[in-house]
Symmetry: C2
Subunit: 353 residues, 2 copies
């Protein structure tokens, strides 16, 4: 089977071409059937490829010098899409020259460019941005939407649940990921009307390939007993950043505490393997690969400051989503949902499968 | 000057009468002019007071056997208000027999009972729940609203800013606390229309005793460079719980890491002073004292699981808010706001002071 190529925006992100190319090369070791379209300055890419001869064979270079700046407004970035590395990587997906695009550039610009070029898939109202977060359990938890949609209605939330579950199947291997809606309490009466209605619809739509388990509060996201946390873009952005900030806050406190006395310094050195484990678990590079779900094509956002291992994780996410044919999986589940909506009694919806 | 008494719901919370009485006694050491009304089972309170003879002299006991349960619905709790320790503590404030009430019981019930008994203060649309969170700086940060109001409009947010600043002046001693609105970005175009309008109004109302410094993202709440974070109750609840959950997540990881090898265990023991410092800084007992702001009277919520030191902090918050006459401070700032709204040009509003 010939798998579609992955287009890599080699110029986006803070770390430059070398890290993007090295990351793609690392990912290719585990997904060696994939080919790549590297978009960016030809001379720089050629130089970076010298260290990765196998990658050289699997790659085509699309030369381009322009880069979208990290602080560039999405509206301006949209106008420059066709001359920039990010825009051309997404364009390659649109034209079928690649199945997925990976970029470490400006998130807002990537979202705007991807939406305009690839369009929302049929049957879906709005795409969403989904990210991976570490947990105390075996697998990362997926949270969406994280800011693509400031306000979301019932139908959006239900569709996000379906898309998140499709992504989670790829990440966790679970056939029926455990899905919950983010809320300010777990009782059925809590939250806005849209959230409560979405819960009712998800409870009723038993034909979907997911287990809907009700509400989750924001302090339980990382416990490891939920695979997909569904929320509107505003709350999701607040929750994601609050978690990142608090994790950094605690590790900063810890660092200050460990450097506050000689005794602590000695203890810190002796227990370094433990603190390394902590760092490893919290390192965003190990949870890299935010995905724009719901477009006609796969677009993965890598952290702007990701190292080569982080980029490799983002490229692997793209590769695995392509292998699992996520766009068709989502389309099929959206079909089940529409059926369930015509027959809102669970028994009938099941019989109709 | 005779300061008003503090009514303590001695029965609410998980830890029982002994801890509530001990906490009040601890607080009284630093605020020895205060007198107390202890509401609950007389025999249990008498017994708890045996260990605190000074407190005995300063206390009156209001006997009552009924307690609002931790999981009791606010609607049911409201009907039982007049026979329960929580209800009678709040009732004492309403009747002028106490200036403030402190309870470690059911938050939703306390909010409902307090709103009905004390009513929202004149000129204010809605009360709010404000809590203290630890920071890397010298002082705790105040965040509000945390769930009293699921949806909030521009005027609510502006009034929350005024109430939060008044509370912060008591906590930090700053005459002009630094206030920011929680948002999903710091650019002026980010967020909902209500948030952007609230920012414009706060920027224009220069007569207020606060410095409005724009938006803050949820990952910067604990940095120590903002004194008051203003948000609607839904987002505030999400942010608060996300921070609590992430802090617990990191400390759980740390504990796992430290117990994963003998070498780490030894290091952990050697560096115990450092990890104790971390625990001290994150201990909710040290940041205890969520306040319902905007009622005709002061109501402080202590954590349900707070120890005596935690209860003492909550009682001290009540004492200091009474000493600072917070209700009149808020009323006066609301007056400035109304003036500013009639004269929205900052220069004119200032001249009118």
């Amino acid at each position: 089977m010939s798998l579609p190529r992955i287009a890599v925006d080699a110029m986006g992100g803070d770390e430059g071409v070398r890290v993007m190319v090295e990351g793609a090369a690392l990912a290719r070791r585990r997904h060696d059937k994939f080919k790549f379209l590297l978009v960016g300055d030809q001379a720089q890419i050629e130089k970076a490829l010298e260290a990765h001869p196998n990658m050289r064979e699997a790659s085509e270079i699309l030369h381009c010098e322009d880069v979208i700046a990290g602080d560039e407004k999405p509206s301006k970035a949209l106008r420059r899409a066709k001359t920039t590395s990010m825009g051309l990587a997404v364009q390659a997906v649109k034209e079928g020259k690649a199945g997925a695009a990976v970029s470490a550039g400006n998130t807002g610009a990537l979202m705007a460019i991807s939406k305009l070029a690839l369009r929302t898939m049929p049957g879906l109202d709005r795409p969403a941005l989904a990210a991976l977060l570490p947990t105390l359990g075996e697998n990362d938890v997926i949270m969406l939407d994280l800011g693509a949609n400031r306000e979301c209605d019932t139908r959006n939330l239900v569709q996000f649940a379906i898309m998140g579950a499709a992504y989670s199947r790829t990440v966790t291997g679970r056939e029926r990921p455990r899905v919950r809606l983010l809320n300010i309490g777990t009782e059925e009466t809590k939250g806005t009307e849209d959230i409560r209605d979405a819960a009712n619809q998800l409870r009723a739509a038993t034909g979907l390939a997911l287990d809907f388990e009700g509400f989750v509060e924001a302090d339980k996201i990382n416990r490891g007993d939920v695979d997909v946390v569904v929320t509107d873009g505003f709350s999701g952005n607040i929750a994601l950043k609050a978690i990142e900030g608090a994790a950094r806050f605690v590790t900063d406190l810890l660092r200050n505490a460990f450097t506050s006395s000689l005794r602590s310094k000695v203890g810190f050195l002796v227990s370094r393997p433990a603190t390394e484990l902590l760092r490893h678990h919290l390192d965003p590079n190990n949870h890299n690969g935010a995905v724009f779900l719901g477009l006609n094509g796969v677009v993965v956002k890598s952290h702007g400051s990701a190292n080569a291992k982080g980029v490799a994780n983002a490229v692997e996410v793209a590769a695995r989503l392509l292998e699992d044919d996520i766009t068709n999986r989502i389309a099929s589940d959206l079909g089940v949902l529409d059926q369930a909506n015509f027959n809102p009694v669970p028994g009938i919806a099941q019989a109709g499968e």
